[in-house]
Every structure is written in C-alpha cells, then in structure tokens.
Amino acid sequence: MVEVKNVSKKYGNKHVVENVSIQIAKGKITSFIGPNGAGKSTLLSMISRLISKDSGQIVIDGHDITQTKSNDLAKKISILKQSNDISVRLTIRELVSFGRFPYSQGRLTKEDWKYVDEAIAYMRLEDIQDKYLDQLSGGQRQRAYIAMVLAQDTEYILLDEPLNNLDMKHSVQIMKVLRKMVDELGKTIIIVIHDINFASCYSDFIVALKDGKVVKEGTIDEIINTPTLQEIYDMEIQVETINQNKICIYFN
C-alpha cells in the first residue's frame, strides 16, 4: 500500500501540492484527475522520488521512501513520465532490457532476458523489437516504454499521462493492457489522466485534485456525478450510463 501523509510542495511561494494525504489500494487502478495545474504530476513525481517533497511522509509497504535505498525502491515502484525524450538511439529490445537494471546492474542474466522477452511479448512488440525508437509511431513507442516498466517487474507502476498524444485506438489499447496488468499480474497502477471518460471506464478509484489539494476521492460512482464534477472542474458535466459505463458529456 502507498500511503501519502500530509505531503506539501512549494515552487517559490506557490503551493503546488498542499497537505495531501491519500492511501492507494493494492491491486487496483487509481486515477488522479483534475484541472491543469492541480498538482497531479507533481504528486506522482514525489511518490516516485523523482522530485523531493518539502514536508510530509510517503510510505510504500511500510518503508519511508526517503530512508529506503534507491535501488531497492526501483524493484518496488516504477514511473513513466509523459515526455520520454531519450538522447541515445536504442532499439525496443535494448530499451526494455534497461528495465532489468535494478536487478542486474547492467549485466543481464538468462533470467533477466526471460523477463525482457516476456515484457516484449506482453506488449505485442515481438515483430518490431529490433526497430529503433525513432522509427516507431507514438503508440508503439508508448508500448515500448510500458514494456520497459513491465520488465522492471515492480508491484507499483506510476504513469504520468500515458495517453498523451495517442489516438483513440491506441489509447484504448494502452488502457486495456493496463487493466490486464492489474487483473492478471496483480499490479497496482496509479495514473495521471486528463480524459475523465477513460478514468471512469478503466479505473477502480479516482482521486480528484484541485489547486494542490484533494477535493474528493472514492470509487467511480462517488466521483463521476454531476455535482462532484462541478466541484472539481467548475463546469456542469452531464453524466450518462452507457453499457454500465458512466460517460461524461462535456462538449457543450
């Protein structure tokens, strides 16, 4: 379980995240939603130790992240940011093999390669595994990065806007894979997502942030309704139930 206790972060005088306390359940998909500048990505980066927090505590499975060795954390929790510009030229297979670094320190054993092969197969990248990243489409590249995270074999996987710049088909593909990873492999996934309909259709819990604070957290039913969404986004959003999925209509 990931426990976030009274965490704050300031940039200059502005509180980006203020006194946030949440608990994230194991084996579920938790989505962070909220308007731009709500502090979703910052919170995600703090949980994954990419940036430091000003105050508060983050505990993963009983271990405070500031007191745990970075390499041990890398076997527990992984993060994928929204922009993944890599300055070196890598093939998919090479990229995915980097996911084994916490275990192998660069010297991959047979077992490590087995994980790499499995991750590539899981993301259906076998045919193109020797292609270079810059030869891929956005969807393929995103799958390659997720394969790397899979090879890292962590219980917790954090994704910062994994659907950024993807078309509908690839977005659905990615979300289905994430759902499968939770249901079949027992992973715990936390995502920052802008499209509330994807959050509504694929996640188990939703945490809504606004101005650095948690406005509301709960199940889909508790969050995806007109009054709550009004509170989060300051606009009236109609909610319809289609095939048991709650769909928000916010285009007009």
């Binding site: 994954s48 990419l50 970075s70 390499n71 890398a74 890599i86 300055s87 030229r89 670094f101 660069g106």
Partner: protein, 314 residues
C-alpha cells in the same frame, strides 16, 4: 564492432611507430626518448579529453556540449595567471610544476563542486541555463586573466602565453609522471561507473526510476571530468574542442549506447587523431603551425556539418 576496434588499434600503433621512427636521422639516443615523451603526453591528453567529453555529454544528455563550455579550461588558465600575477613566475608554486599541478587540480575540483551545487541540484534544471552560466563563467575567467596579463611584466606574460596555446611541441614533461599516476587512479576509480553511465544517458528521470543514486554518481563523474580536463590542459594547453569532434565521430562509428564501447572507442579515435595531426604538423608543415589550429579548423567544419545535418532531420 570488433573489426572497427582492430582497425583503430592497428592504426594507432602504426601511427605511433611512424611518429617514433620516421626522420629519426640516426640520432637515436637523443630523438627516441624525446619522441617517447611526446607520444606519452599525446596518449594521456587524448585519453583524458575523449573520456571527459564523453562522460560530460552523457551527464548533460547533450551531444554538442564539451567541458570547455562550462569554462573549465578557462578556469585553469585563470588559476595559472593568478599565481603568476601574485607570486611571479620564479615562485616555488609556479616553478615546481608538480605542486602547481596539484593546486590547480584542487581548485578545479572545488569549482566544479560549486557549479554542481548551483546548477544540477535545482529541480527542473534547464540545459540552456547551464550553457548560459557556463559561458558567462568562461568569459569572466578569460577577461580576468587578460586583465591581469595586461598588468604584469611582459616577461612574465610570455610564461603564460606559452601555456595558452595547445601545442605538443612544448609538452609540460615535468608533470608527465604525476599525470600518469592520476590517470591510472581515475581509470580504476571510474571503471565501476561505466554501467551507471549507460543508465544516465537515458536522462535523469529514467535513471532515478531505475534506482540510480543520481546525485552520488553525477557529482563523482563531474569531479573526474574536472581532473581530466586539468590534466589535459596542464600537459598541452586548452584543446577541448577535440573532445566534441572525437565524441561525435565515436557516436557515428559505433552507434551503441554501451559506454564501455563508446569510451574505449573514443579514446582510441582521439589518440589516432592527435598523433596523426601531430605527424602532419611536424612532417608536412614542418612546425609552421600547431595542432590546435588544425583541430579547430577540422572541428569547426565538422561542427557546421553536424548543425546542418541535425537541421535536416527535423
């Protein structure tokens, strides 16, 4: 990959032999030891520059940066000028090259530590900010050096000028021994960092995600870079433009992310380029030019080519 290494190694050996024995003129006892010293200096400098540039580019995730952008070699010249300005060229610290070398290296390390604190520690560090600060520092050191140079005795100025231009014709041979020792220690020390460098080249976020203690590694690698730049600059003068050339040629040639390959490849290429260049300087131009002129010329042309090529790929 293996074939490329073999070619480079053979080429390096052939060039070294050519350098040693061509035009020796029978005066073997005199010529050979002198040339050996020169070769040693070239190998050390080449290795130091290739290694430091490669590592620096990996840390900054940028393929057109060299340590000289951060003003590291201007700082070295500044320290030299400072010592001469206050103590004169006959002073012990200036006269004893080894002490001078150790003091300079110490100050360079302190400077890079400060730079690290200033630039790498802040979150959301911006590469352009880093470049800008580095350029300002470099210019500051240069201006302060030339200010002091104007004030001092012209004879003292000659001592400084002697060191300002990279040249293998007057290698600072007194510090050869200490350089060799320093390089060996550094090589042993940084060997265990090679695997971290691979991960570092993915960028800070990926490196942290994969469990790298980013601050720990980058800090140590920057100190290594500072010492290597000091060694190269102390031996022959500012020549880090070579690093840009070598690092990019290595990238083109080996097309891999593995720093084991890249580092050893770049060291070989650097040695080949330097010895080849020095051969041309000595045998073709008969000392009418220095190697830094040739390197800056070829480096400049290559740099423009790089810019044009990168531009096209957009």
């Amino acid at each position: 990959m293996k074939a490329k290494f073999t070619v480079l190694i053979v080429l390096a050996i052939v060039l070294i032999l050519a350098f040693l024995f061509v035009d020796a003129g029978g005066n073997w006892d005199y010529i050979i030891p002198r040339r050996l010293k020169k070769i040693l200096a070239i190998v050390l400098t080449g290795g130091a520059i290739a290694y430091s540039t490669m590592v620096f580019q990996t840390i900054t995730n940028n393929r057109i940066l060299t340590p000289s952008i951060l003003g590291l070699d201007s700082l070295y010249m500044f320290i030299q000028t400072l010592v001469i300005f206050f103590f004169g060229s006959t002073n012990l610290t200036m006269a004893n090259k080894n002490i001078n070398f150790l003091i300079s290296v110490g100050l360079m390390v302190v400077f890079s530590a400060i730079l690290y604190k200033l630039l790498f520690k802040r979150e959301g560090q911006n590469i352009y900010f880093l470049l800008l600060i580095g350029l300002i520092f470099g210019t500051l050191f240069q201006s302060m050096s030339s200010f002091m140079e104007v004030l001092i005795d012209p004879n003292e100025f000659l001592t400084i000028q002697d060191r300002m231009f990279a040249s293998f014709n007057n290698v600072n041979s007194e510090i050869l021994l200490i350089s060799v020792i320093a390089m060996l220690i550094l090589a042993l020390y940084s060997a265990r960092f090679a695997k971290y460098l691979d991960v570092l080249s993915l960028g800070k976020d990926h490196a942290v995600n994969l469990g790298l203690d980013y601050d720990y590694v980058v800090k140590r690698m920057l100190v290594v870079v500072a010492i290597l730049v000091s060694i190269a600059t102390a031996l022959v003068g500012p020549i880090t433009f070579l690093g840009l050339l070598v690092a990019n040629v290595t990238q083109q040639m080996f097309k891999t992310y593995s720093h084991k390959v890249l580092l050893s490849g770049s060291i070989l290429i650097s040695i080949v380029a330097l010895i080849g260049g020095q051969l041309v300087v000595e045998r073709v131009f008969t000392f009418s030019t220095t190697i830094s002129v040739i390197i800056n010329f070829i480096g400049g042309v290559y740099f423009i080519y790089l810019l044009l090529k990168e531009n096209k790929s957009w």
